[in-house]
Amino acid sequence: MAEATTENKPTKSVWGGGMSPFNVSWGKMYMWFFLVSDAFTFSSLLIAYGTMRHRFTEIWPKANDVFTHFPFLDGHIPLAYVGLMTFILIMSSVTMVLAVDAGHKRNNKAVAKWMLLTIIGGFMFLGSQAWEWYHFIHGTDHGAYVMPDTRVARFATDHHTHELDMNTLVFPDGTTVTGAEAEAVKAKSQLFHGANLTRNEYGHPLFGDFFFFITGFHGFHVFSGVMINIIIFINVLNGVYARRGHYEQIEKTGLYWHFVDLVWVFVFTFFYLV
């Protein structure tokens, strides 16, 4: 420690070499630049989603009609579950930043406690996402008719009671058919439940593709984050950072974890709210 106490003279330019103009270690700088590049990847995915949504704006499914489940509750409950997922992720971001704060105070026990809570929050989010995927893949009990031209005819629902009218079909453009005409459509179409990469009962197949790819890519980031957090947590328990004298490693891991939260804020808005 003592060998590097030479003060940087104020007259010397920070860009003159021999020091970091960013006043951070290379590890933290590279974590930031990795996150910038990762943010570009997620931006491109969400912009691609936006482009296709504008392309098929009339027939694009509404997230409020797709994600309407809540554990242990029946009925039409949109947005609540994804709101809960957002809360879980924000909460785990708070425990992470409290771990960083405890690191600044060189309090090893507190760092370990907050890291453990962050890991638990990460697993809770991953579990929630698995549940969300299961319901999207599984679909509704009644399903919908995928027509030969890949358009989807859904059963008409009452706007207020959300009760189904099994004799009326709604086309993507909003037109409806009933009775014999509906039976004719049913006869040449295939009843389909849930979603996969080529079709989904809620409407345009691209909606499912983007959902699986973007939330899957984000979920994989969360999974990686949890694994990194576990490694750091074990290091904290072994006193690695207490011996090192500083907890910058917690900060770098924290940057990644907050980034995962940041991406979710955008996914939440552009997939579920807008």
């Binding site: 420690m1 060998e3 590097a4 106490t5 920070v14 021999g18 020091m19 970091s20 960013f22 006043n23 951070v24 270690s25 290379w26 700088m29 930031w32 630049f33 910038v36 943010a39 931006s43 491109s44 912009i47 936006g50 482009t51 504008h54 392309r55 098929f56 704006t57 409020n64 709101g83 957002t86 924000i90 971001s93 708070v94 930043v97 409290l98 704060d101 600044h104 105070k105 060189r106 309090n107 090893n108 006193g239 207490a242 011996r243 004298g245 500083h246 910058e248 900060e251 924290g254 940057l255 907050h258 980034f259 939260d261 940041l262 804020v265 955008f266 939440f268 808005t269 709210l273 807008v274």
Partner: protein
Amino acid sequence: MADHKHGDQHDDKKHGYYTGDIHNQFVEEHVDPKSVKSIWKTFWILLVITLFEVGIAFTSIPHDILIVIFIVLTIVKAYYIVAFFMHLKHENSPLRYSIILPFVLILYLIVMAIAEGNYLNLVG
């Protein structure tokens, strides 16, 4: 289990550490005596904004206005996460600008790609 409290190796007034890389520069840590309080303040801001977003989604506000509100609030939330949780507000300005300025390209991509989507929709 080693448990050193309050960086006893640093007898100077400045709170920080040596980076340990080739420059082995002394990096000052931003010390806020009310840090825990400000963390929870940021948490409440993020939570209230999220609840507000979920709440107004079911009101009769026209959809176009809702979209603008949602996007503005998302950017506000992103600011709080990046500035306070990721501490970017307390990094020096060369690092801040190196991270923030490249996103001008994303704004450009948004404008171009959404215009393309609308055009494709128009021509079918």
